[in-house]
Each structure stands twice: as C-alpha cells, then as structure tokens.
C-alpha cells in the first residue's frame, strides 16, 4: 500500500519567527507509523513552539512559513482534519479534578464529533490505571495516574499520532518505567509517537530516532549508550553534536 510509504507526520521547511527573533529555522522532520521520535532541546529552544505548530495552534502573531502535514492533511489549512489523527498529552496532565477518569475521557471524547471510539474501560486497563481508581475524582490521583488517563484518552480516540510533551517530568522512576513501556506498546500497535523532552536517558530507552532542536534548527543526533558522558551531554545541548 502506498500509505505505508507516506509519512504520518511530515514537517517541511517550517520556519517561525517574530519581528526580531527566529524561533524555528527551516525545520524538517518525517515520522512514520510505528516509529518513535524524540525531540530534545534545552529550555527555550523552541520545543513548545514546534509542538504548537504541529497542533495547528501556533501563535497567530508569529510569521510562519513551510508546512506541517499529518496523514496528508495540512494543519494550517485543514487543522480540524489534521488534529483528528493526533492525541496530545501536555506536560501538566489536563484532567478535570472534579471528574473521575471515565468521566474525563467521556467528556473529552464528546468535544470532537468523531464517532469512532474504542471502549473506554479497555483503554483505561490498557493504560494501566488500576480499576479501583476509575470512578474517583481525578484530584486524588498522582501525576503518573493522571498521565495514564491522558494516554487512555489517546487510545480511546484511536489516534494515529501521539504527541507527548515532557512526559517524564515529575514522575518517580517506577512511573517513568511504566510510561516508557506504554510508549513502546503504542509503537507496537502501529502508532507514531513524537516525544518532546530534555530527558536524554528516557528518550534513548524508547526512541527509534533522536533529534535535537538547537538555535532553531532540528538535527538528528546519533549517540551510543556507551558514549554518554556528562561532557558529551553538555555539548549536545549546546548544539555542537
């Protein structure tokens, strides 16, 4: 099938600038089904701007060039169509504290008019949220649990592309490990996953490819587990890889 060759997410010559400074400079990226790509970058490197561009929610006052396509729909021209294929998991899990996990997912699913959904309870167990917590209000959850709710939503939405923003921040080692497993699970089910993070170690654990966003440019990084020293990392983040 031709679809297999067509990238799930393709970013072509994407530039984003404000009047006096450039945030993204001719960024290119392709991501296929069943592939996990990590975007590394230091604070303020433009990671969240890149994410917003992919979501089609870039700041309207910015000057944008290039194109972002998800499953062959341009996010700038058909944002709704493009967004229907993706699930976004923000750094702070955006669940409503007064609703339970099930209610949250039900509510979020009601927001787009897509009728194709998976069974919510299946998704929740797949995401690994203990069943006894399903009906408790989310304000009692830990951050890891909230993130599982967000991932369950992605599963329920049957999204093809998963966007994760700093998924590991604030998680204990066990929760990080569980999350990594979950990402790999998504990958094996054919989802494409884009992770934006500054945690190189985790990224190496689940990514097929690493990229580094520095001074507005996105470049592939190849780094072996064995050569991971503090000096190397520093240089990496300074964009001298």
């Amino acid at each position: 099938m031709g679809e297999l060759n067509m990238p799930l997410l393709s970013i072509a010559q994407l530039s984003l600038s404000y009047e006096n400074h450039v945030v993204l400079n001719q960024v290119n990226l392709e991501l296929h089904n069943g592939e996990v790509v990590a975007v590394l970058g230091s604070n303020g490197a433009g990671k969240s701007s890149l994410l917003k561009c992919i979501l089609g929610l870039a700041d309207t006052s910015a000057n944008i060039q290039g194109d972002v396509r998800i499953a062959d729909s341009s996010v700038f021209h058909q944002p709704h169509l493009a967004r229907a294929h993706l699930a976004y998991v923000p750094e702070q899990p955006a669940v409503y504290g007064h609703l339970s996990a099930i209610e949250n997912i039900r509510y979020f699913l009601s927001l787009d008019n897509n009728p194709e959904r998976a069974e919510i309870s299946d998704c929740l167990s797949q995401a690994g949220l203990p069943e006894r917590a399903w009906h408790d209000p989310c304000q009692t959850y830990s951050k890891g649990m909230k993130q599982k709710v967000m991932l369950a939503l992605a599963l329920a939405k049957q999204a093809k592309l998963l966007l994760l923003d700093e998924p590991n921040s604030g998680l204990d080692p066990q929760a990080t490990e569980e999350l990594n497993q979950l990402i790999l699970q998504c990958k094996s089910s054919g989802m494409g996953v884009l992770v934006v993070t500054h945690d190189v170690l985790s990224a190496m654990a689940f990514s097929d490819r690493l990229t580094m966003l520095a001074s507005g440019r996105l470049q592939p990084v190849s780094i072996a587990q064995s050569s991971l020293t503090l000096d190397n990392l520093k240089r990496l983040y300074q964009g001298q890889a």
């Binding site: 007064h98 009601s110 008019n113």
Partner: protein, 425 residues
C-alpha cells in the same frame, strides 16, 4: 451537551451557586407575596370596619327626621382603596409607600390627597426584597460568578492548548459552555416563578412576559460576560471578575442613581405637601373674603345653581363647599402641571431604559405589577372622579336646599363601584 452538563454540575461551587440562586428567587417571590398579602389583609380589615361604621351611621341617620347634607359632606368619610393586582408581588415599587387605604370627604380634595401612610420610615428606606430587585440587582452577579473565568480557568489550569487540540470547532465549544450556563441560570429563576404561578393559579400572559424579560436580561449579562471572559487576553480570572463587577456597579448602581438625579434636576416638581399647604391658605383666606367672591366664580363652573337662594347669613354650607371646591379649582393648573411632570419623568425613565437594561427591566416589571408612579396617578385620577361624583351627589341638597332623608343616602356613590357611574364634568 449531556457531558457538558455533568462536567458543570459536578463542580460543587457551581452547584452551590445555582442552589443559592434557586433559593433566593423563591425567597424574593415569597417575600413579595407576603407583603401583598399583608396589604390585602389590611384592606379587607379596613373594609370590614368601614361596613360596621356604615351600619351604625345608617342607624344614626335613620333616627333623624331630616339629615343635614352639609354635615354629611363634612363628617362622612369614604374609604378609597388601592388594591394590589394579581402580579403586584413581583415588584412592590410604590406600593411599599403609598397608602392602600385613604379616606376622603367632601372638603377640598387637594388638602386630602397627599397624606402618606404611617409605615416605619426606616424600613421603607431599607427597601424590600422582591423579584424585581433580585433579578435586576443580583442575577448579574450570578452570571458573573459563573462566566467570568470561561477561558481563564482553563488557561490557569494549563489546559487551554490541550482543549484546543481536541475541540472540533472552538465556536461551538464555547457556545455550548455559555449556553448551558445561561440555561441553568435561567432555570434557577424560572422554576420557582412557574411553581409559584401554578401554586397561586396566576394568569399565564404576565408569566410569559416575565419569563421573556428574565431571559432577555440574563442573556444581556451573559453576553457581556462572554465579551470579557472570551476576549483574547482573558487569561486572568480575577481581572475579569473585577472588570465585570465594575460594569455591574456602573449599570446597576451608578447610572440609575445618576439617571434619578438628572431626572429630578430636569423635571423638578413641587413637594406634594406644598400643594396641600396652599390649599389650606386658599381655604382660610376665603373665610375673610366676601361670600360673593367665592360664589360668583363658583357659579361660572356650575351655572345650574346660579339662581338658588343667595347666602345672607354668617355661614351657609353651600358657601363653605363652594370655597372648598374653588381652592381645588385654583390649584388645578399646578396640580395638572405636577401630574404631567410626574408622567414625563416616568416616560423619560422608560426612554432611559432603552439604553440602560437594568432600568428597562425594573420599569417593565413594575408595569406588570402595576406599582409604578403612573399607576399612582391613575389611582389619584380615580379618587378625583369619585370625589367629583360625591360632590355632584350632594350639591343638589346643598344648593337647592333639598331635604335629605336616610333613603337618599342609599344612592350615595362609593369608591368601589364608581366605575359604573359616568362622571359629568
């Protein structure tokens, strides 16, 4: 929509707010009803006493061979009542201060018309808690509380980008949220209203009007909140709340106050007590003047009694009632002027209401409740008509010195059924 509703109602503070709104709406209706009920009771009590008095008077008159018509005019008081209407409990308006029972006798009307009621003035000043007050003054606050942080709360919870990545159409999404809140606010007002109307079996048409006014007014506030809380930079909930509260303060307090001030400056009127005072002066001066000075102008108004016997003695009732009436006539221009100014004030208030929704609602509700100054003027006109009928009834006995017996008193007009008898000018 169902999901949105669960989402909204699971927030305890919102549920609490809606319950409070429901409770206070009921309280305002109940309080208004109690006040009107109290007025009705007082009126029926006064009617009962009046009936008793009437019987004893009849017995008294029946024992006399002949009745002095002049004394009837002087000593016989007639109660006039301002009955509340079916929907008066909505907006108590003037009814809180105007006398619901007044007594009128044949003396000059302008000396009797402006007596107030002996309420506790401090409590009259505090005002009452009726539906109109609740709706005009407080529902904006409920709207503000529910709608000030539409966007800001999501932003502050770092949820806004995520939501935007989910929603199919932002306009539909926000419209749904706003609409649902509006409907809930509206329901918290309408449910008690409808229940009340059913329980008291009130008529339907005013109910529909009231519901329409309520819906429009709350919609107005919802739209204002929407403008503030959905604008692009609406990311600070407390800033929105302050902005909206300031708008509320301006629309519901400052501008109506200024409107009132302007109205009084633009259309000044004389205090009612001044009219009563002038009336007294006129009446007293008449005692010192030659009787023809009173009677001749009087006969211009009533030529039919021109040729009745002249007044020669020190005192005659016909002269007495003539100067009472002439004092009214002399004040007529001032009184009409005053009434016109009051009517003009009301019309201007209505016009101001077109640009000031709070005023429009208050005015419209008072119109339904019939407790505005125009209704007071109508009531006064009814009293004037009744007074005229009384005069016309007694004048023949006074001027033609016709003998009066207890049987004649049966035909004496009463305020309650004056509508059936036409008034001849």
């Amino acid at each position: 929509m169902k999901q949105e509703l669960t989402h909204l109602l699971k927030q305890r503070s919102i549920l609490l707010l809606l319950c409070i709104s429901l409770l206070l709406t009921w309280l305002s209706l109940h309080n208004g009803w109690q006040n009107i009920h109290h007025i009705r009771e007082q009126i029926s009590h006064a009617q009962l006493e009046a009936d008793l008095r009437h019987q004893s008077q009849q017995a008294d008159y029946a024992s006399r061979a002949q009745i002095d018509a002049g004394e009837i005019g002087y000593y016989l008081f007639h109660n006039v009542y301002q009955h509340p209407t079916e929907w008066s409990f909505l907006a108590l308006g003037n009814r809180l201060v105007t006398p619901y029972v007044q007594r009128i006798r044949l003396l000059g009307l302008q000396g009797q018309l402006y007596d107030g009621e002996s309420h506790h003035p401090e409590y009259v000043m505090l005002g009452s808690f009726d539906y109109a007050f609740w709706l005009v003054f407080f529902t904006p606050l409920i709207c503000i509380a529910l709608l000030h942080d539409l966007k800001a709360s999501e932003f502050q919870a770092q949820r806004l980008v995520f939501l935007n990545s989910l929603i199919a159409n932002p306009k539909v999404f926000w419209a749904r949220r706003v609409l649902l809140r509006w409907v809930l606010i509206l329901l918290s007002l309408i449910i008690p209203l409808v229940f009340f109307a059913i329980a008291q079996s009130l008529s339907l048409k005013p109910l529909i009007t009231v519901i329409a006014i309520t819906a429009l007014y709350t919609l107005f506030w919802v739209v204002i909140c929407l403008f503030i809380s959905l604008r692009k930079q609406a990311m600070n909930a407390s800033l929105n709340a302050m902005l909206l509260a300031s708008i509320w303060l301006v629309l519901c307090v400052a501008l109506p106050n200024l409107a009132q001030l302007w109205l009084h400056q633009q259309y000044p009127i004389q205090d009612g007590s001044q009219i009563a005072l002038q009336h007294r002066q006129l009446v007293h001066n008449a005692w010192d003047q030659p009787k023809t000075d009173t009677l001749n102008p009087f006969y211009v108004h009533y030529p039919q009694w021109q040729d009745t016997p002249a007044v020669t003695g020190r005192f005659h009732w016909k002269w007495y009632y003539a100067f009472q009436h002439m004092a009214d006539v002399q004040l007529q221009a001032q009184v009409t002027d005053r009434e016109q100014t009051l009517a003009l004030r009301d019309q201007t208030t209505k016009k101001l209401g077109l640009v000031l929704p709070s005023l429009w609602v208050q005015h419209s509700l008072e119109n339904i409740a019939q407790s505005n100054v125009t209704h007071l003027l109508t009531h006064r006109r009814r009293i004037t008509d009744f007074h005229t009928q009384l005069r016309h009834f007694l004048y023949p006995y006074l001027f033609e010195e016709k003998a009066m017996t207890v049987n004649d008193l049966v035909n004496m007009p009463t305020f309650e059924n004056q509508a059936s008898a036409p008034v001849h000018p």
